[in-house]
Assembly symmetry: C5
Amino acid sequence: MIIGKVAGSVVSTRKCENLVGNKFMVVEPLPGMKRSGAVVAIDMIGAGIGEYVLVAEGSAARVGCGMEHAPVDAAIVGILDDGQNLR
Amino acid sequence: MIIGKVAGSVVSTRKCENLVGNKFMVVEPLPGMKRSGAVVAIDMIGAGIGEYVLVAEGSAARVGCGMEHAPVDAAIVGILDDGQNLR
Amino acid sequence: MIIGKVAGSVVSTRKCENLVGNKFMVVEPLPGMKRSGAVVAIDMIGAGIGEYVLVAEGSAARVGCGMEHAPVDAAIVGILDDGQNLR
Amino acid sequence: MIIGKVAGSVVSTRKCENLVGNKFMVVEPLPGMKRSGAVVAIDMIGAGIGEYVLVAEGSAARVGCGMEHAPVDAAIVGILDDGQNLR
Amino acid sequence: MIIGKVAGSVVSTRKCENLVGNKFMVVEPLPGMKRSGAVVAIDMIGAGIGEYVLVAEGSAARVGCGMEHAPVDAAIVGILDDGQNLR
């Protein structure tokens, strides 16, 4: 997983049917993470803009979030507690 | 997923049988996305050149788009609504 | 998928049994693709050196090419038609 | 897999239900590894801060660690013995 | 797959049970490959230090090598024949 900050969201009206009802959040990885550019992730938790989150990528986002048959390759799977010394 | 702009398409007549009938779109990721180079993606939605789209990669493109047995590792799964402030 | 040019092939006599009979092609991604270095891909189509091809990576190469139980993570799944304006 | 050094951990109280009970370790890959930025990995072994570990990524972290239905894409699967000449 | 050179091995006594009995080889990708840093791969063939090998990554390493339930994301699946003009 990577740690990132929720930077915003995007709206897609014309999309695959099995994506209907999902929110697409734009997450910016923290500096020093294995990814250096933004990821668009489904939000499983109710994360708000500016919050630090854990993002799972690949089949984990799909199978691990009960969306086996949706074309999802990234998901917010946790919100980090406040007050941690993130690097 | 990543946000990208449809830059064009490519044609392949000699291809795996289970790819017949698909369109191969060349998608350029938006600056600042986790990928910085172009991806060739199957189009599930009917995206046009110049449109901003969501691209799912990996097994999500195959399993999530009902193409479990096709050698597809990227798919356009949504078209972004106009007028959004994309970065 | 990515677009690449077939640069050559490599020979491996000592290999996993379920790889026997496959050709290992070295494919150089086109400049501007999401990958900038060479990939070794199984050839499903009969591509020749110098041809431009589509390469699928990850489980797509294995499951999508009827090689579910072979340790293959990249496959040439299409040959691009001549005369296209590739970038 | 990659070799990395456990740099710390992060706490997430609001997370996917099937992640409850796991520890999220921040692992910094050794210089020269295929990844150059930090990975957040589930700890399957009991690794401590400062220890050198093997991290498996992708579906291996989920399926190979008996967490098939959890959104996990990286796991610490081994602790390296002391006194090895790591590069 | 990628072509790499076996640079050494690492030992992990405390590891996931389903990894017991495997050798962890450190493989350096050839210059110009899609990966530029080292990968730790399970050895399925009996490769020696200094040999040039094919490494499969992702689920291919696990499913394609009969280790479906082990947390393995990279495997040496072939040894290249001597005398090839590798780049």
